[in-house]
Amino acid sequence: MNWISVLPEFCTGCQSCEMVCSLSHEGSSCPCLSRIQVKKWGEIALYFPIVCQHCGDAPCITVCPTKARRRIPETGAVVTDEKWCVGCKSCIYACPYSAPVINPKTGKTITCDLCGGKPLCVEACTVGALAYTSDGKHSIERKRVLGQPIIHGLRFGVWR
């Protein structure tokens, strides 16, 4: 199954992902309605998009008291069934990334649904900080990113 992998080294904090997510799911624009959230440490120029990783053994599914959290078999996405969600926030506490977001309009949690298999946030990210990828590909991509400073150092004699 594919999921949205995050390469924070490339994130510029532009929040484009939040805007298309919010508009496509809720019909209006606001970071507060986005299923992906960019967290910022601007003073050291670090930005980190947080989005549901659709864990294989998802703790949010386990802890959800109303069984509102469930996996969609076709895409592997772990989503909230709003009909059953009571807004208890258990999933937020259980998630290692605190990825679920409270929808201020309904008080219920919302998380990434992978846009049915064609995530728009990935399409909107023009710096490659987000990738719709599989386990194997993600592992290779991480190795490439982590190797870049070493290659730069070897080529130019400057470590960065």
Binding site: C14, S22, C32, G42, A124
Partner: protein, 597 residues
């Protein structure tokens, strides 16, 4: 209120410590544009009030357009307007602020924020939706822009709040102090930092959770994604993404940037070497404004220090313009400006004038507080900038900027590179008549790509049949159009990656108003007229244009220049072009000669 707008104006009186919300007249939003136009219309009413424009109580306007806070590409810009003491004579000025502050204003539920009055003691504003708190800034006063931003976010336990703040330079009344949003994005060339400081206003922090509703959300999403992809695939857009605003240096083989206060000019080789040095050794990553697919902001690494905000105008002004060719020194100066909240371009312009004056023995060491200041002397430059911020020693005179310091000392007036008191960008005016005319006709205009060679303009902007001045005006109109909708003026006007028709399509999908490219461009022209009126009213002078210093019309002053295919400006040709432009518009031209100035 219609879709795409909030229809509300947040009005804040610092003196009374009162904030209230006003409905914006639907008539003001009718054409489907806001931002710069909203500010212009507001100030047009305000200018006839009893508050003197030069008073610290005079308002500052921050406004956004219908595309702000949406997925429209490059929609993170805010229009800022104020009475600027930078120009000579002082007058109404508009600036475009990149970054993330404007969209938060929209999410807080406002299209415009007006801050008027003067607080009795230092404070900062915390705006959370429609709730406004006036917070004591005693502990923040004296803090630099980085410390201030973090302190406000930490104090309010919200790292997503957008902070627009000043540094010590603004607090202490340096006219060319700027305002800084999210550490890197600066509002320069309006003297906004000075205006904040004069109001005892350290910062405006803002946070909102009100979604922006759109008339046709699906259509809007489709248009914005298609436009985003187109910009990303474009060759110039890609180069801007890869190299930031340094992208046009070197390779295109034109040169033409001023070195050592325009006594020398850059060659493409020199530019290429200078650019490559930065890209290889100091570039760490990229930063982007809100909803931007280009990400032209650069993140720089110096040892363990990471910071954004380095762009061509700032770096060249604090580099070759003052005879510094090593990036280590440039970045030391830049970091000082960034933290202190000084406009780096004006700081570089001031230093270049001081160094030029000292080298030519027009200024003495005594004038400089017993300080020698030769080309490339970074230690002397750092010392001088410290004095400029604190007002100590010679800083008391030099903090006024090069023109006013020269006037006060009665020395070096002919070495000042300015139009109407506004420091020139880094491109030498002699490199192109069109560029020179742009500077003269719109002296207070400024952006990160103002020094891009006009020859690089897409044909859709610079149509060959027009007069030279008309081409400069066409760029200006597009820049205003970008400001009216909160889009990036670089992408719209300088690179033409977003056309007027694209903007019309997005605006129509956002607001439901039936607007087309011609209507929007007509609104841009009207806004230009409104600002001309404001400029004339606020400084009692003509139609806003300003002459270039005489030195740029002299015979070829440096041998290397001819090698890059440019010849010195002909004064008669220049004046002919300006006259032709004003004749064509049926306006009389009040010539201001160098002698009269």
């Amino acid at each position: 209120m219609g879709k795409g707008w909030t229809g509300k104006r947040l009005h804040i009186d610092l003196g009374l410590q009162r904030a209230w919300t006003e409905e914006i007249s639907p008539r003001d939003l009718e054409p489907g544009v806001g931002g710069r136009r909203l500010n212009g219309m507001f100030f047009l009413e305000q200018i006839s009030s009893s508050i003197s424009p030069s008073s610290p109580e005079f308002p500052v306007g921050l406004a956004v357009g219908p595309l702000s806070g949406t997925s429209a590409p490059c929609s993170g810009w805010t229009s800022v307007s104020a009475f600027s003491i930078l120009s000579d004579p002082p007058g109404y000025a508009h600036g475009s602020l990149p970054g993330h502050w404007g969209p938060q204003l929209k999410f807080a539920g406002f299209d415009q924020c007006i801050v008027q009055g003067r607080a009795e003691r230092p404070l900062y504003l915390w705006i959370d939706g429609e709730k406004v708190r006036f917070e004591n800034a005693k502990t923040l006063w004296g803090k630099d822009t980085v410390e201030t931003t973090v302190a406000i976010q930490e104090e309010n336990e919200d790292r997503d709040a957008e902070v627009l703040c000043i540094g010590p330079a603004g607090e202490k009344g340096v006219p060319f102090a700027n305002v800084v949003n999210r550490f890197s994005w600066t509002g320069d060339h309006v003297g906004l930092g000075y205006a904040f400081g004069a109001k005892n206003l350290k910062a405006i922090a803002i946070r909102g959770h009100q979604p922006v509703t759109l008339d046709q959300p699906d259509r809007f999403l489709e248009l914005s994604l298609a436009l985003r992809n187109r910009i990303d695939r474009d060759r110039k857009g890609s180069r801007l993404k890869e190299e930031g605003t340094l992208f046009f240096l070197g390779q295109n083989g034109r040169g033409g940037l001023g070195i050592k206060n325009f006594n020398e000019v850059s060659s493409p080789d020199l530019e290429e070497k200078w650019k490559t040095h930065y890209l290889r050794e100091f570039l760490y990553g990229r930063e982007g404004c809100f909803s931007c697919p280009v990400h032209c902001g650069r993140v720089t690494q110096v040892d363990r220090d990471y910071f954004g905000g380095v762009h061509l105008e700032a770096a060249w002004s604090l580099g070759p313009r003052i005879g510094i060719n090593d990036w280590e020194s440039t970045l030391r100066l830049y970091r000082l400006c960034q933290k202190q909240g000084l406009d780096p371009s004006s700081a570089g312009s001031l230093l270049s004038w001081i160094m030029n004056g000292f080298e030519e023995r027009v200024l003495t060491a005594q004038d400089l507080g017993n300080n020698e200041c030769r080309w490339g002397d970074v230690e002397a430059a750092l010392r001088l900038l410290d004095w400029v911020v604190t007002g100590e020693e010679a800083g008391e005179i030099f903090r006024q900027g090069s023109l006013r310091a020269a006037q006060r000392l009665g020395k070096g007036l002919d070495l000042v590179a300015h139009v109407k008191g506004m420091d020139l960008p880094v491109r030498d005016p002699r490199s192109s008549m069109e560029y020179a005319l742009g500077l003269a006709l719109f002296p207070t205009e400024w952006d990160y790509l103002i020094s891009m060679p006009p020859h690089d303009l897409p044909s859709s902007v610079a149509s060959p049949g027009d007069g030279i001045a008309d081409q400069a005006v066409a760029v200006e109109e597009r820049k205003i159009l970008a400001d009216l909708t909160s889009l990036c003026p670089l992408v719209v006007a300088r690179l033409s990656l977003i056309s007027a028709s694209d903007i019309a399509g997005l605006t129509a999908a956002a607001t439901g108003m039936d607007s087309d490219a011609q209507t929007l461009l007509e609104e841009a022209r009207k806004t230009m007229q409104v600002e001309k009126t404001l400029s004339g009213v606020s400084n009692n002078e003509g139609n806003g244009w300003g002459p270039l210093p005489r030195r740029f019309f002299k015979e070829q002053s440096y041998a290397a220049y001819g090698a890059y295919g440019a010849s010195p400006l002909s004064k008669s040709d220049f004046e002919k072009e300006v006259s032709r432009y004003y004749d064509g518009k049926g306006e009389s031209l009040p010539w201001i000669t160098e002698k009269e100035r």
